[in-house]
């Protein structure tokens, strides 16, 4: 009985492996026509529409260019070292180009040095690495998160008539993108009459965001504005506000996801700082294909702003 179950499990393993192999893009065993392979390494695409859009756009652009696309995700918020390990494995695998969204601005530097030694071109998207290491990548294409937060703050302040109480729902601890957006927001509302009466981390999760907003509202129901570091937490935040019966709160968010835009159209959310993941993806692949093709990339600007746009109901 036990043996049978064990055998069934081994069979399940083998099937999964075969099936999973088949889920790769492109053909794997065809070594005669060497297909260019581009890999994208990031934190996760689960529960993150924005990161998923970047991945989708890279995949689309890569396949259009005739390259094979490989996706590696590190997993949760905390898997910083897993990403480094995965990039090392990509180097060992001799991929032709790497698009990287670093989970930590410093942790990936040693492995990028190894990529450079191995001659694999790297393009950064969405998040960058510590200044002083520009030789390790062709270009960084991304939203200026600090600026996005700042513009969001300024826009919200103007909408609220330069006064009012504001809550902040942060991302997860240790996320530089989230931190930059919030810091930017605080800069943006500096000097205005806006007052931050509550600031707690939502951990990029709806249930956590909902709970912290519910509790913050207990301390202070007199809220006019709210800033959240990402659209992904909006569902929980809106439900919390609704449950507490707090109305007319102007919410400013970041990402510009389809869900976010929908909520703006419905009037539930005031605005979102849209990012342009498709620009990031297509540009990144274009740069990589040039580099793989042997073009000299030294003239490429080190930072390419993929753009931020404040989207409010007026724009939709």
């Amino acid at each position: 009985m036990k043996k049978v179950l064990c055998c069934l499990m081994v069979l399940a393993c083998v099937c999964t492996l075969v099936f999973a192999q088949g889920s790769q893009e492109g053909t794997s065993a065809d070594s005669s026509k060497k297909q260019v392979e581009i890999a994208f390494s990031l934190k996760t695409i689960t529960n993150d529409a924005f990161q998923k859009s970047i991945a989708d756009s890279i995949q689309g652009a890569a396949e259009k260019a005739g390259a094979k696309f490989t996706l590696v995700t590190a997993g949760q918020q905390t898997a910083v070292s897993a990403q480094v390990n995965q990039v090392e494995d990509l180097i060992a695998k001799h991929v032709d180009g790497i698009v990287l969204s670093p989970m930590d601005s410093k942790a990936v530097i040693p492995v990028l040095k190894k990529a450079k030694e191995a001659g694999i071109p790297v393009v950064l998207v969405d998040q960058t690495i510590e200044p002083g290491n520009e030789d390790l990548y062709i270009s960084y294409i991304g939203t200026d998160n600090t600026n996005a937060g700042k513009v969001g703050g300024q826009t919200l302040a103007k909408e609220l008539g330069n006064k009012g109480n504001v809550l902040i729902v942060r991302g997860a601890n240790g996320s530089s993108a989230g931190d930059q957006r919030v810091d930017g927001f605080k800069t943006g509302i500096e000097g205005t009459g806006l007052k931050i009466v509550g600031e707690q981390p939502g951990n990029w999760q709806n249930d956590t965001a909902m709970q912290v907003v519910e509790n913050m509202l207990q301390a202070n129901k007199d809220i006019q504005g709210l800033f959240t570091a990402s659209d992904v937490m909006l569902d929980g935040i809106l439900t919390a506000l609704e449950n507490a019966g707090v109305k007319n709160v102007k919410i400013m968010s970041v990402d510009g996801s389809d869900d976010g835009k929908e909520m703006i159209k419905n009037g539930e959310v005031f605005g979102t700082m849209a990012q342009f993941p498709d620009v990031m993806g297509t540009k990144a692949v274009a740069l990589l294909m040039d580099a793989i093709g042997g073009k000299n990339m030294s003239a490429t600007p080190k930072y390419i702003d993929s753009g931020t746009k404040c989207i409010t109901a007026a724009d939709l």
Binding site: Q24, T78, A92, K93, K106
Partner: protein, 328 residues
Amino acid sequence: MQYSEGEKAMVGGKKDYLKFLLGVALVVVVFTILGTQIRGFLSFRNLMNVCRQTSIIAICACGMTMVIIIKGIDLSVPGVISCCAMINGILMLQGWPIPLAMLVALAVGTAMGLFNGAMVEKLEIPAFITTLVMGNIGRGLALIMNKGDSIGGFPSAYVFMGNGTWLGIPVSNYIMVLFVVVTSILMGKTRLGTYIYALGGNDLVVKQQGISTSLVNFFVFGFSGFCAAMAGILLSAQLDTVHPVQGEPYLMDAIAGCVIGGVNMLGGEGKAYLALIGALIIGFLRNILNLLGVHPFYQNIFVGVIIIVIVGISIARKNNVMEKNKAF
């Protein structure tokens, strides 16, 4: 497997050695097959890399082996990794000499471990919950120390420890082997080692023999804290960064590595070098999945199934032997 009367008597002797050889042969075969199928797998660079990545898990597993043997568990590993690495990092950035900074961080890790031991020994609080909460405290401290930010830009000597090579082999691997050797000697060749195994077998007997259980508890948990602190220091050397929550993924991998390596979760059984092999299996498994380009969603399923299967098989074999050797 049917055991004859004579074979039963050989359990522990020639049979074990044959099984070991068989295991080695199996590994060679599997590696060869994988090497032909996967580009880049058998390259020296890749093999050394995987060992280097796995060294963190392996060092944690050294301490974890001891803890599991005395029927405990140490869930504070991620918190200690993050906290001690952060202490080490901050001190180094403030100009402290590297060995001194490391010493302080190791001391803190050991102290946290000793605290765990105290709770388990003196207050009889189960190791699960005390180490779980201790780990959270450690993680919290790591967040506080630098206001949630990561720090980096460490002296090159330190980074060399994580990324440099000596005679072509990464320095991390030497450190990993050192830890495993030391742990094995402690467990196998010292009086303390026998006490540890004894405590894992039957603590009543241990007390009757006059062996101080508090000594064993304190030592084991303290050593586990020490290992976790070293793992944290090494990890930050590899990344040239201390990320406040960098330790999280290592807990489950360390435990899985131990169990796959034959450490018995019910206590009393296990060897450090086998835990090393278990850790390497986990490391290579992830490496293979990455090299194959298996979609991340499927990787999780695969890792989960493999863990259960390997442990299931080893338990089934053990049960088989036990049942055949039963008197009735």
